[in-house]
């Protein structure tokens, strides 16, 4: 199998899964309809009929981490190709990545010192 065939197979698998779910849905529809009744479709909130909409600006208190995460996630994009050729290249690769990671790690320490790991 070449790469294209593999990806086509994966796509087919995804579509097949969706198809299976859809057939389950139609099976359950065949068993009976969902009856529309007052109050039934309001999101359940422990016995209180709470019709207020909740979509809004949500206070994500972990934004300090989120910024650091961006830096680290970018770095990981470089790590994978590096990891594959690491043994081939040898010590130089370790030093190269070591310097890179050290700088990144300093960023982590700086973020820590500035209270990025505190719940905002």
């Amino acid at each position: 199998m070449n790469a294209t065939q593999q990806y086509v197979l994966l796509l087919g698998l995804a579509l097949g899964t969706v198809g299976m779910v859809l057939s389950l849905y139609s099976l359950s529809r065949a068993i009976g309809p969902t009856r529309g009744e007052p109050g039934k479709d309001v999101p359940a909130s422990s016995g209180v009929l709470s019709r207020d909409p909740v979509w809004g600006r949500y206070h994500a208190r972990y934004y300090g981490y989120a910024l650091l995460f961006l830096a680290f996630d970018m770095e990981m994009a470089f790590m994978y190709p590096w990891a594959v050729v690491y043994k081939e290249v040898g010590m130089v690769a370790l030093l190269d990545m070591g310097v890179f990671l050290a700088i990144l790690f300093l960023g982590l320490l700086y973020g820590w010192s500035q209270g990025a790991f505190r719940r905002q």
């Binding site: 065949a30 068993i31 600006r57």
Partner: protein, 649 residues
């Protein structure tokens, strides 16, 4: 029995021809999951093992097919029960155990008495009924008045304009906004603000923010200012007072206005300028310790610095033509958020008022905790009980008179989580009113029963803690032990002793538990109104961890007491005859001291006054939850072991 009367399920599903229906009905009957109202802890306290009866315990109505109501429910719970039932997917059924079905439901499907055998039999009947009648041709819609909040339409600018139909405001021509009738009477000023936020934060309403603005202007119409953050800060000032306490630059004697950096809330200056950290222009902000006149001074002084360039706010103070406001097409982030409340870190967010309870899996049933959430943090919260016992019985004589026995039964039934303690309390008070001497013969047996209930009650709390923390092992272990302890005699308690004592060792060794509980819900020693384990734990650190260990220690102490004392026996009232008098008694219930004073007239209870620990503890909730993360806030409330039944009203 083959002669079962056929049960017609009111919650059956609408039929549509399908060969699968028979099979599916069987599967449904095998998979009964129940939502317990008021809560699993009440079922346990009554000695019901719901799982053993063949029902899986569901935590939400969405996941349940049986609404299992345990015991009589006070009237205030009626609406909640109706909502829960309405939100269960069909096929669904109501199983009423030991009480009257609340009137908001249109009757039950099966009812049984309050015993394990009856429950098991009722579940069996229910299974047969489901296997046969899960589907029907013409199910009836379930409906209750609570589902039909009247919708009314109000003008955002003119709150006095209320119409029954949508349209435009006769005064200003603006579109009226829908709202549920009854929402118009806010309990307090800040609540009102929250409601406004709810109503308008849907993004399609962005223009409403502007209009809401103008109503702010209306209120403060003498100042033609354009600093809208301040209008809001004034309303919410108290919410971030605590934040500012640890700002080093903040001068406490500051009068009125101060300037702060939008990015660095710790920068606070007396004069306008730029931030030393990032160079941004400082914005004006209300001082924390403002008083009324300081505030108005600030409003006037504000013209001197137009640091916020809100292009469209250059209108004069009074005559808003208003409608051109949203028309610019582009909404900057500042525009969108300027009316939102400000969090502790200075960001403006939508706050949500979210109910937790009365039937919430993490809290005892009947307790309704309402939290105002800013993200997953709590900005404020309050707890009320929907099932509380009445604290004063002055009107006893109006209804039929309560003789002593009826009163005892009434009081112990009203408190399902600690019936023995309150039975004992009532007995003691009545006996004292009758002028009987303390008798030492019964005292030992009574103490034994009280201590046994203390063990059972604390085990119930541990099970509840397990439910809250998703600690399945603890819930299962503690529930099993509670069921065994509930009616155990001295010998069987002695047999259970090793299991009870290892519980503590086991919890000590559980990873993550300490870090989860330490520092949560701290109550300092000097907090007023602390009683029982909560009070004793205040000396040991006063957090949830200390309260856990206090309760475990009390389990051990009670075990020792029972071992060295008499066989536990339910308190029974001694013969008092037709006497009159007043009596007062105090019992150290599992949740703390409870006092009862009553007046006896010819053997009948004329009036009584009850004072319980939980009535005091529930008042601690707002302080405990404020500023906490949601999980911690719920844990803090849970660690108080509030019994909503014991909250007097």
């Amino acid at each position: 029995m083959s002669s079962d009367p056929a049960i017609n399920l009111t919650g059956a599903r609408q039929k549509r021809y399908s060969v699968l229906q028979k099979l599916v009905s069987r599967a449904l009957a095998r998979n009964l999951s129940c939502l317990i109202v008021p809560g699993p802890e009440v079922a346990l306290a009554h000695g019901l093992d719901v799982t053993a009866a063949g029902l899986r315990i569901a935590t939400t109505p969405r996941d349940a097919s049986v609404l299992l109501i345990v015991g009589d429910l006070p009237g205030k719970m009626g609406d909640a029960v109706a909502v829960l039932y309405a939100q269960m997917p069909r096929p669904r059924a109501i199983l009423m155990v030991g009480g009257q079905t609340p009137s908001t439901l249109s009757g039950d499907d099966i009812s049984s008495d309050l015993s394990q055998e009856d429950l098991t039999e009722a579940v069996g009947q229910l299974k047969r009924a489901l296997a046969d009648g899960a589907f029907t041709d013409s199910p009836e819609d379930f409906d209750a008045s609570v589902m039909h909040a009247r919708i009314e339409y109000v003008c955002p600018m003119h709150p006095e304009v209320v119409e029954d139909e949508p349209g435009s405001c006769p005064k200003c021509g603006m579109d009226l906004v829908a709202r549920e009738a009854g929402e118009s009477t806010p309990e307090g000023g800040s609540d009102h603000e929250h409601h406004e936020d709810h109503e308008h934060h849907g993004h399609e309403h962005e223009h409403c923010h502007d209009q809401e603005h103008q109503s702010h202007h209306e209120h403060q119409s003498h100042h033609g200012h354009h600093e809208h953050h301040d209008g809001h800060d004034q309303d919410h000032g108290h919410d971030h007072d605590h934040n500012n306490e640890h700002q080093p630059e903040h001068a406490p004697e500051n009068a009125g206005t101060e300037y702060t950096c939008p990015m660095h809330p710790e920068i606070v200056r007396d004069e306008p300028g730029s931030c030393p950290k990032c160079g941004m222009d400082l914005v004006v902000r209300e001082s924390d310790d403002h008083s009324e006149h300081e505030h108005s001074g600030h409003d006037h002084g504000e013209h001197d610095h137009g640091e916020h360039d809100h292009g469209e706010h250059d209108h004069g103070g009074h005559d808003h033509e208003g409608h051109d406001h949203g028309s610019s097409g582009f909404m900057s982030m500042i525009e969108v958020t300027k009316d939102l409340p400000r969090s502790a870190d200075g960001l403006q967010m939508d706050w949500l008022e979210v109910p937790f309870g009365p039937v919430f899996p993490g809290l005892p049933g009947g307790l309704k905790l309402t939290l105002t959430l800013d993200g997953d943090g709590v900005t404020e919260g309050q707890a009320i009980s929907l099932v509380g016992v009445t604290s004063k019985g002055d009107n006893v004589e109006e209804s039929e008179e309560m003789d002593a026995e009826t009163f005892i039964a009434y009081l112990s039934a009203a408190i399902p989580l600690a019936p023995v303690s309150y039975r004992l309390l009532a007995c003691l008070a009545i006996e004292q009113a009758a002028g009987l001497e303390d008798d030492s013969a019964n005292a030992g047996a009574r103490t034994g029963a009280l201590e046994r209930e203390r063990i059972a009650s604390h085990l119930g709390w541990l099970a509840q803690l397990g439910r809250q923390l998703g600690f399945a092992w603890l819930t299962q272990r503690a529930s099993t032990l509670q069921l065994q302890v509930r009616e155990a005699n001295r010998d069987s308690l002695a047999a259970l002793e090793p299991a009870l004592r290892t519980l503590g060792t086991r919890l000590e060794r559980t990873p993550l538990l300490k870090s989860r509980l330490m520092g949560v819900g701290i109550l300092p020693t000097e907090s007023s109104g602390l009683r029982g384990p909560v009070a004793s734990a205040a000396n040991e650190g006063g957090d949830a961890w200390a309260r856990l260990w206090q309760r475990l220690a009390e389990i051990s102490a009670s075990l020792d007491l029972i071992k060295s004392g008499a066989e536990p026996e339910l308190p029974v009232l001694r013969d008092v005859g037709d006497v009159s008098g007043t009596g007062e008694a105090t019992v150290d219930t599992p949740r703390g001291e409870a006092r009862l004073s009553l007046k006896l007239e010819r053997g009948h209870v004329k009036s009584y006054e009850l004072d319980t620990a939980c009535s005091h503890h529930i008042g601690l909730v707002p302080k405990l939850v404020e500023g906490q993360e949601l999980g911690d806030a719920l844990l803090a409330v849970g660690s108080l072991d509030l019994s909503p039944w014991e909250v007097t009203s």
